[in-house]
């Protein structure tokens, strides 16, 4: 424990210093029938930012988890600073100076930031001392890297972006020399992402080595020195970033050309399908999160709601989707007032022709213990097409889902596989397929491409546009400004539970939107 607290403890000494910080040789890993990593070779130079890209399920997280000692490889060697090492658990990795920020955060929700940071690196047997030590150390890190986060708030009260800071702080606190980040920006706003990259840059300049997994080629091009591409468990290429291009990478990843920007023609808005009138919503704790919001969405248009995570988007979506009873205001769907929905309100709204792709697929959109086909009817289980009366027509449900698997290219193509065993992107496809194929009049979508690879992103975006052109009213909530801008016909900016401005995606420039999202002089901007 002690050693971990002193960053200098595992600095590479002399001779080894020139060797690559990380070298993987012929790594293999299988989960039952799934061969997640095959003969992976990877070499990461010290003091560089090394990007890894690949489709969902390509095996990126698995590979990194092996390097971090969370999983143990079936075969293959790991070299750190030129020395062959055996990493049989995370503490081995930590003492080798390897730190990791996981794709799904490893934080204890009802602990404070401080407690999470010290967990496992307490030093002394009594908390009092370790905590005060950590507090000052935390202040230092915050100063050096601009990673402010109040040490005594509970994790569950933090926005995702802040939670990620905690993850990074955890790694730095343990004096990591080699930092692995698994899809760190999936949940960040552009501002937050830029900040993160500044932090990474600082770290690199200090000689630390960084491995960055991401689906966003823009980020790869922006910050990495070299990039490796994985496909279906194999390492298909490693190139210096300067010698490649997004298009080239995309092709390597997917194995075909991909169109990186959405091309859609003018929207032809029809009459109002979804209207929200000064809606006020509170969260579970009773705190008002949405403050008298009003807007409407017309048939055949995509309205994007831009905003920093945690400004009321979640509550807004849940209220509209009938999952949360608003404190005040009205929601009008297809002309029906549906504000006072009870506990089963979501069902009622689906009948009114509203489909909902929730922000957090794992928590809300899926029952991960269900077989995939079972999730493909979640929320629609009562429809007659899945069996009349009480009975559930398993055959029909499975057949229908098999169709979707092909159409949405869901992998592995096995309707009876447990949903938990699909990778993030494929899980998202299961949800999208379910909601879009209902051909609803109104579709509300939260973070449709969070943690999804570009191949899938292209596909998903096209689907959304297709729905618009089919005359559906679409409400899109995303923290991905790019996504909002490339998809929306109108952009509403939400800040602290209020709509602080509306912008036209064509004209609006990134900076202006960014300021609105940050709540800066929103009054003027609103005009």
């Amino acid at each position: 424990m002690e050693r971990v607290n002193h960053p200098d403890a595992q600095r590479p000494q002399g001779a080894a210093a020139s060797a690559p910080a990380i070298e993987l040789r012929a790594i293999n890993k299988s989960f039952g029938p799934v061969h997640a990593n095959r003969d992976i070779d990877l070499s990461v130079q010290k003091g560089t930012v090394h990007g890894i890209v690949g489709e969902n399920g390509a095996g990126k997280s698995t590979l990194m988890s092996i390097l971090y000692g969370f999983y143990t490889a079936d075969s293959g060697d790991i070299l750190v600073n030129g020395k062959t090492v055996s990493i049989s658990n995370s503490s081995d990795a930590l003492s080798l100076g390897i730190g990791m920020v996981h794709q799904h955060f490893m934080l204890v929700d009802n602990f404070t930031v401080l407690e999470n940071v010290v967990l496992g690196a307490e030093g002394s047997a009594l908390l009092g001392r370790s905590l005060s030590k950590a507090r000052s150390e935390l202040q230092r890190l915050a100063r050096d890297y601009g990673l402010e986060v109040s040490p005594d708030t509970l994790i569950e009260d933090l926005s995702v972006g802040q939670q990620q800071r905690v993850e990074i702080l955890k790694a730095l606190y343990r004096g990591a020399d080699i930092l692995i980040l698994d899809e760190p920006t999936g949940v960040l706003t552009p501002a937050e992402a830029d900040h993160l990259f500044r932090v990474l840059a600082t770290l690199r300049n200090e000689g630390k080595t960084i491995i960055l997994i991401t689906h966003k080629l823009r980020e790869i091009m922006a910050i990495t020195d070299a990039v490796s591409v994985m496909r279906q468990g194999r390492m298909v290429a490693t190139v210096p970033t300067s010698e490649t291009s997004p298009e080239a990478l995309a092709e390597l990843m997917v194995g075909r050309r991909v169109l990186l920007r959405v091309d859609k023609d003018e929207a032809r808005p029809g009459d109002v399908k979804l209207a929200v009138e000064n809606l006020t919503v509170a969260d579970d704790a009773g705190v008002i999160r949405v403050k008298g919001v009003s807007f409407s969405v017309r048939a055949g248009e995509i309205v994007g709601i831009a905003g920093v995570a945690g400004n009321g988007q979640s509550e807004l979506l849940e209220a509209i989707a009938g999952m949360r009873r608003p404190v005040a205001g009205r929601v009008i769907v297809n002309g029906h007032e549906v504000t006072t929905h009870g506990e089963a309100g979501a069902a009622e709204l689906r009948q009114k022709g509203l489909a909902h792709v929730p922000e957090d697929r794992l928590r809300m959109g899926l029952v991960t213990n269900f077989e995939a086909w079972e999730n493909s009817i979640l929320g629609y289980q009562d429809e007659p097409r899945y069996g009349g009366g009480l009975a559930l027509d398993i055959g029909a449900s499975r057949r229908e889902f098999e169709g979707r698997i092909a159409q949405y290219d869901i992998r592995p193509a096995n309707p009876r596989l447990k949903t938990a065993n699909f990778s993030g992107g494929n899980q998202q496809k299961i949800v999208l397929a379910r909601e879009m194929e209902r051909d609803p009049d109104i579709l509300i979508v939260g973070q449709p491409t969070r943690g999804v690879d570009i191949g899938a992103i292209e596909f998903i975006h096209n689907q959304i546009v297709k729905m618009r052109d089919a005359g559906k009213a679409i409400l899109l909530v995303s923290v991905e400004l790019d996504e909002i801008r490339s998809l929306s016909d109108r952009i509403l900016v939400i800040f602290d539970g209020e709509i602080v401005g509306e912008a036209d995606p064509a004209s609006a420039d990134e900076g202006e939107l960014g300021l609105l999202m940050a709540g800066v002089h929103n009054k003027e901007a609103a005009q």
């Binding site: 039952g32 468990g233 506990e343 089963a344 809300m364 009562d382």
Partner: protein, 367 residues
């Protein structure tokens, strides 16, 4: 699990459990040896006692009936993410329903009475489970505590009703008046002499039906779908427009209703009267049965049969081997629960190694 190679279904669902049971008996056998008895002979006696002749087999099935109902009760609730420790009390209270109807229309033919007593028992049991369900759904009171407490309350309530209200004066035993023969649920021996004197009765076929019914309910109906969604992920269930509170209350009631059918077997089928503590722990065995059967009717059926056999075989053993007391039997049962239930995975890794060698083809990546 991190199964290198998933076991063939028959190994997973048949061979493994069988090996586990054998293991339990092996340990039990050692204890038997310690008291200077011959384990093999003991096993013989148990097997013969449980399956060897009509009477014995009948008793086995009679116990199995109770355990199926109790096991299903716990399983059903479990699929909704509810842990119902109260089957014991629910069954006990259900006995009241059964006896009230029975005594009210005492003398009426069973063909008419059986459905009535069934409904009454189920309703009373359901009621006793519904309250904890309601408290869980509306007040957030943890169903585990409330069901535990309701067991205790049931004991007091029934003790009062039996010894102070239902007990006819002049009768020394604390028990209700008798149900007349015509009114009782007929025992199978009346149709099938093979069953000798054993008390297995028409509630046994009912239990089999219940097995299928629950399987269908959970995996083949929309209700069951909702129940499992709720059990796995309440948030997702809410998202799916399912009313969790309502579902919790219904499921608990159904669960209690199933537990209540134990009373039909005991009161209307076997005892012909309401006696103190007729549940005799069946509700708690139900917990073991449910979890050993992985809350799946097939599993429940097998586990219930296993316990039925242990109870009856155990009686036979205690009878013909006086050195082996009833406590010894309880011990063996505990070992069975331990090895087939809690430690059921112990033999998986070795088996996997064996079958991995046998079928390397499966090991290939599936892409």
């Amino acid at each position: 699990m991190s199964a290198r190679v998933p076991l063939p279904a028959w190994v997973d669902r048949i061979l493994l459990p069988v090996l586990n049971v054998s293991l339990a008996f092996l340990i039990g056998g050692i204890v038997v040896l310690l008291v200077g008895q011959n384990p093999l002979e003991a096993v013989q006696i148990m097997l013969y006692g449980a399956f060897g002749y009509g009477d014995g087999f009948g008793y086995t099935l009679y116990y199995t009936t109770n355990f199926i109902f109790a096991g299903l009760a716990v399983s059903l609730a479990y699929h909704a993410g509810l842990f119902n420790i109260g089957a014991e009390g629910q069954g006990y209270i259900a006995g009241l329903g059964v006896i009230l109807v029975a005594l009210w229309l005492n003398g009426t033919h069973w063909a008419l009475m059986m459905p009535l007593m069934l409904v009454a028992g189920a309703l009373f049991g359901a009621f006793w489970a519904f309250i904890p369900g309601y408290l869980q759904a509306k007040r957030g009171s943890h169903v585990v505590i409330t069901t535990i407490l309701f067991n205790f309350i049931a004991t007091s309530l029934m003790s009062y009703l039996i010894s102070r209200v239902l007990k006819p004066a002049g009768v020394s035993a604390d028990e209700s008046a008798r149900i007349e023969a015509v009114t009782r649920v007929p025992q199978l021996r009346e149709f099938i002499p093979f069953f000798g004197y054993s008390p297995v009765n028409l509630t046994f076929p009912l239990a089999i039906a219940a097995l299928f019914g629950v399987w269908f309910l959970i995996w083949r109906t929309k209700f069951g779908y909702a129940v499992r969604a709720l059990g796995f992920n309440p948030t997702a269930a809410h998202y799916a427009g399912i009313s969790n509170a309502r579902l919790i209350m219904i499921t608990m009631a159904l669960s209690g209703g199933l537990a209540g059918l134990v009373a039909l077997n005991e009161v209307a089928g076997v005892q012909g009267r309401l006696i103190l503590n007729f549940m005799a722990g069946a509700g708690f065995v139900g917990i073991a049965v449910a979890f050993m059967g992985r809350a799946h009717p097939i599993g429940v059926a097998l586990a219930a049969l296993l316990f039925g056999a242990l109870y009856q075989g155990g009686q036979e053993l205690a009878f013909s081997m006086p050195a082996i007391t009833r406590d010894m039997i309880v011990t063996i049962q505990a070992l069975v629960i331990l090895f087939t239930g809690a430690m059921g995975e112990m033999l998986r890794p070795p088996l996997e190694r064996i079958f991995a060698r046998r079928a390397p083809a499966v090991a290939r990546p599936a892409e």
